[in-house]
């Protein structure tokens, strides 16, 4: 009785371990590259990095690349602490971050990766609005904003409460948006739904009729059928909506901006990271356009930085 059970138990255990070991061992490495590359940071840049990692892994299965989305701010904190190798960033490194990195002995290289245009979106069913001015945007998003309903902004707009969605306090997108629209970094009203996960924002705007949100262009692009993007007008510029061309030629103002990755210099000495970066800049133009951002015309300057 007991020996029978022992046999069944060992058989099951062996079966499980074998499936596990075989799954572990069956890595089609292709190349012989191994190593670990820790990446974290901006959720805006994440789709690019994810596409690159996915394709890089087809040829280099043994290079393990976990990617997190703690937001540019969260990623930077880890990066200047030496906890990760590469930081996705949707805004340049700040002076205080530079200082902390220096204090911690972390040297880094900045790479420009693509261009983005932060897109302001509303629910698809709203056909009473096509554009919004930067002044109106400021009225809605500034700290202690008095705007609760659309009609507060403009009496001809519906008498309905605006539901707001946007990235949170760790987001480079929020930092850039607030600086450009509200005039001060991170100055923003408190009663919106903040999330570093852009998918939450997309779901929110898509599901709420009178909602508004802002995030990187790629997220609008991927969900064009479900969202409506607003053209932006500012004091010196006519209405312009985000698109591949307007972002590329710089006419999408003021919400157009470059996207970066920051790489730890010490990590860059590793073979796997060098190869990864080479792939990032040589092979990624199509990935970037596929995802919805605008690649640089020429990456040779960036490739030259890889040492």
């Amino acid at each position: 009785m007991i020996t029978n059970m022992k046999r069944t138990v060992s058989a099951v255990a062996i079966a499980i371990s074998m499936t596990f070991i075989s799954a572990c061992g069956s890595t089609n490495s292709g190349s012989g590259l191994t190593g670990t590359i820790k990446i974290d940071g901006s959720s805006t840049v994440f789709p690019i990095t994810q596409a690159v990692v996915e394709n890089f892994n087809y040829a280099n299965r043994d290079v393990r690349i976990p990617v997190g989305v703690a937001g540019t701010g969260g990623g930077m904190k880890k990066f200047i602490n030496g906890e990760i190798d590469i930081c996705n960033a949707s805004r340049p490194i700040t002076d205080s971050e530079k200082e902390t990195a220096k204090k911690n002995g972390i040297e880094y290289v900045e790479f420009k990766v693509a261009y983005d245009g932060i897109s302001v979106v509303v629910n698809k069913s709203n056909n009473w609005i096509n554009n919004i001015s930067t002044e109106d945007l400021k009225k809605v998003w500034e700290p202690n904003s008095k705007i609760k309903k659309w009609s507060d902004l403009n009496p001809s707009y519906p008498n309905a409460e605006i539901k707001l969605y946007g990235p949170g306090m760790d987001s480079g997108t929020t930092e850039y948006f607030t600086e450009v629209i509200n005039g001060q970094k991170m100055a923003i009203r408190k009663d919106y739904t903040p999330s570093e996960d852009d998918n939450v924002l997309i779901q929110g705007v898509r599901g709420e009729k009178y909602s508004m949100g802002y995030f990187g262009y790629a997220f609008y692009y991927e969900n064009k059928d479900d969202l409506k993007v607003l053209g932006i007008s500012s004091p010196n510029n006519a209405v312009v909506g985000p698109s591949f061309d307007t972002i590329k030629n710089g006419t999408y103002k003021p919400l157009g901006r470059p996207l970066f990755i920051y790489v730890n210099k010490k990590s860059m000495e590793q073979e796997c990271i060098k190869e990864f970066l080479k792939y990032y800049f040589e092979g990624s133009k199509e990935h970037i356009t596929e995802v919805g951002y605008v690649p640089l015309d020429d990456y040779s300057a960036e490739i030259a930085k890889i040492k």
Partner: protein
């Protein structure tokens, strides 16, 4: 008088029908849930799904790292939880006297089993990830999950030990064995099937738990298999959670496919438990 009886009888009948309906309603919800999952997710369930890595394209995406990660974590969890749980149960059933100290331990265990699993996640984050410096790794996750399932293992081991007939112990003592010898050679082997059932219940619980591992693990994109216990990991429920968060409808579909895989795994494990329990029942009868 007669009317009153009739009225009460009618009320009785109505009540009977009412609670039968409610019970069936509860079960109906179960069927709706399962049907919903199957209708959304069954068509993407294939070998490719089971052996692929996650991808930004729903069609290419698969749950291999999640499945392997789950198995890895569970094996380690059992490795930690079962010896400690069984030892605790042995202490409580075979050695402990009925005093305040023992009651204190029992209260502790009962409190632990009532604590929300997310609090264990916080404990794991503070102690295993930060204080012990294990980072967001497989071993930190497994240690956390071991604590989550520990009360389950203890309680079912206690039941199994209680079920061992006293005459077995007495017979052993009569032959001059010490307590430890008796426990080691007689009591534990007899209780093993019951303990095993408890282990399987613990596995079942650990498979479905996402909250503690979300706190301890927290990665968005893990497209590799963990190479050692200090590596990052992905588990089945967390991968499903990440897919649910994606706005595209195709990801909802593969989320339900992932759920189907999870439910099949749970069904399989619980069936083994029921089978073993019945076998054990036959053996002692």
């Amino acid at each position: 008088m007669k009317d009153n009886i009739r009225y009460r009888k009618i009320k009785n009948k109505m009540f009977h029908i009412f609670i039968l309906a409610i019970t069936c309603l509860a079960i109906l919800v179960l069927f709706v849930l399962v049907w919903d999952m199957l209708s959304k997710g069954l068509k993407t369930l294939d070998w490719q799904f089971l052996t692929s890595y996650p991808s930004m394209f729903a069609k290419k995406a698969g749950i291999l790292p999640a499945l392997v990660g789950s198995i890895y974590i569970i094996l380690l969890t059992i490795l930690f939880a079962v010896p400690v749980g069984l030892a605790t149960a042995v202490y409580l059933e075979e050695y402990a006297k009925d005093n305040g100290f023992t009651r204190f331990i029992k209260i502790n265990i009962s409190n632990l089993s009532g604590t929300p699993s997310i609090v264990f996640g916080l404990l794991g984050l503070a102690i295993f990830v930060k204080f012990f410096g294990l980072g967001r790794s497989v071993i930190a996750g497994a240690l956390t999950m071991a604590l989550v399932v520990l009360p389950t293992v203890i309680v079912s081991s206690q039941e199994a030990l209680k079920a061992v007939p006293q005459y077995l112990r007495h017979g052993s003592f009569a032959m001059g064995a010490t307590k430890w010898q008796t426990i080691r050679k007689i009591v534990i082997p007899s209780a093993l099937p019951g303990v095993l059932t408890g282990v399987i219940l613990a596995i079942s619980r650990a498979l479905g738990e996402s909250a503690p591992l979300l706190i301890v693990g927290a990665f968005s994109y893990v497209a590799f298999l963990p190479k050692d216990i200090f590596d990052s990991f992905m588990t089945l429920p967390i991968q499903i959670y990440l897919w649910i968060g994606q706005p595209k409808a195709e990801f909802r579909e593969i989320a339900s496919t992932g759920i189907i895989v999870l439910l099949i795994l749970l069904l399989g494990i619980n069936s083994i438990a029921i089978f073993l329990r019945n076998k054990y029942q036959k053996n002692i009868d």
